[in-house]
Amino acid sequence: MRFSELVKASWHALIANPKRSFLTTIGIIIGIASVVTIMSLGAGVKKQMLRDLDTTQTGQQTAEIYYNSRDMFLNEPGFDNRDVTMLMDANLKGVAKVEILQQTKKIGMTAIINDSQQAMTADLVNKPVKQPIVAGQNLTTYDFEVKNPVMLMSDKLATKMYTTAANAVGTSVTVQQTTYTVIGVYHNKAADARLPKPLYLNSSTGKQGNGIKLTFKPGAQVSVGAKQALHQLKKSGSHHRDGRYEYIDMGKLLKGISKSISGITYFVAAIAGISLFIAGIGVMNMMYISVSERTQEIGVRLALGATPKNIMMQFLLEAIILTVSGGVIGLVIGTSVAAVASMAMPFRAIVTPASVALAFGVSTAVGIVFGLLPAKQAANKNLIDILR
């Protein structure tokens, strides 16, 4: 008989008894799902660690400290040149360079508008952006080339400050000692203003941002220097009264997670091994029952031209289809569980080819190992005895 017809016959026999077939696969599903979950998490954390290691290998060890303002409405950047100077003077252990991580897109700032101090958010742009202009005119390429201190104001802020959009055109806004002329009012909900990025970043007040990056000398211990910097900032940072500084030691965090995952891996592997073994016994049991229930069928097939090898393959394929289906379902469940679990972790789970291969390989192996004896029993049945 053709192999494809054998597969069909096996499949047919399994779906003729769907409940029993499904119950038999549950152990396989659980075993494979747990192995795939833990492997995907392990692969995820390893990849993340490698990415972090990369910077070390180029000699560029870095650490980043972030500032969170306590006042939700005062969104002024937490670091400026004073912090850089202060940290450089503090002679931090192993630190070679201190830089502010400049915000480059939408930023918060304090501005003087219509003689009053206002919190405002601004888009920083490198070139004119096509935009519906409500009053006045858009920024031009020329403005960027000659670094004209001009800006657009959103219709929302304009009406708030000057009642109409038209009134706002020609007024001025001062941000960090630079005074920008409002040449147009544009329609925008996301930000209050649009400023030319080169001008803003190079303005005399220097760089500002909510993050600071420490670059270390090769071989330095990152966490020591970073903690010293954190201590200095808490004591005398430019904004230490208005917010908190935070240093996340990614390397340490990932190392910890990786360590506990590899610890759990052995545990899960042991559980999964037991689960798969018991599942295999279940498959064997079901196959033995199936063989004895279907003695008559075996006899008919043998009489009609089946070879003992055909019969053996049919029952072996039944066991394999059963366990591989369990493996596939387990792979899907394991992948989903890992994806959900990694939402709560600082890395993303990865389904590696290894875990796919493992799901198929292990479930096929379980099918073969535990299906072989029942299949042999089926093939060795005596035709004459069956037909009596």
Partner: protein
């Protein structure tokens, strides 16, 4: 076609040899319609299993056309049986989880054909046995007589040299038996060789030749006078 010479058959049971068939000599030609009768335990099924290549553990010579069956290896016997014999059993022996068509397809699939390519031949045989529209049903949805017709269709589908039927009417009431015998007669009229085993004198009388067995010996072999 079938030529048995000095066939002896013993079953070994717990060390004892139990001699069932004694010096059987029997020749059956193509196109014959033979019934084998005899008491229960006389060895009818044992004989018919040997004739149908189900049992190759016997002494003596079995020449089938030009082939000496006793010299074949078991692995050679299976395809030989698949191509030469169609079996009809007392209790039909249809596989209950498969559709009627799938049941009839089995001998062809074991001969290496694809399921998709044999539907026309299945339908042809179903029509021949008078059940043109049941292909998609499960065997359990059919009456005993209908199931036996399906099993006759299955026996015919691979175009075998002869049919073997062990008590084909044993599980059927007399009216259904008569219908099955009518079908056998039609098949024989079309040239099919049929060998059947029966207890029922009426069934034996409907065949053309009767072989009677008693305690493993042929005691009578005669044409049925019609």
């Amino acid at each position: 076609m079938i030529n048995l010479k000095n066939i002896n058959k013993s079953y070994s049971q717990g060390g004892n040899q139990f001699h069932v068939l004694h010096d059987i000599n029997l020749a059956i030609d193509a196109g014959e319609y033979v019934s084998i009768i005899g008491q229960s335990g006389s060895g009818k099924s044992t004989l018919i299993n040997i004739i149908g290549f189900l049992d190759d553990q016997f002494e003596g010579e079995y020449q089938f056309n030009d082939t000496q069956i006793q010299t074949l290896k078991r692995a050679e016997l299976t395809p030989f049986r698949n191509a030469s014999v169609g079996f009809i059993f007392q209790n039909f022996k249809l596989i209950r989880t498969m559709s009627v068509s799938d049941n009839i397809a089995l001998p062809l699939l074991y001969a290496g054909e694809k399921r998709r390519q044999v539907q026309a031949r299945i339908d042809e045989q179903l029509t021949r046995v008078g059940l043109p529209d049941v292909g998609d049903k499960l065997p359990t949805a059919l009456s005993g007589g209908q199931q036996q017709r399906v099993s006759i269709a299955r026996a015919l589908v691979a175009n075998p040299s002869f049919l073997i039927a062990d008590e084909p009417t044993g599980a059927l009431d007399s009216r259904t038996s008569a219908e099955i015998m009518q079908l056998f007669k039609e098949l024989n009229d079309q040239g099919t060789t049929i060998i059947l085993v029966t207890h029922d004198p009426n069934v034996a009388a409907a065949t053309k030749r009767t072989v009677e067995i008693l305690d493993g010996r042929i005691i009578a072999d005669s044409e049925v006078s019609s």
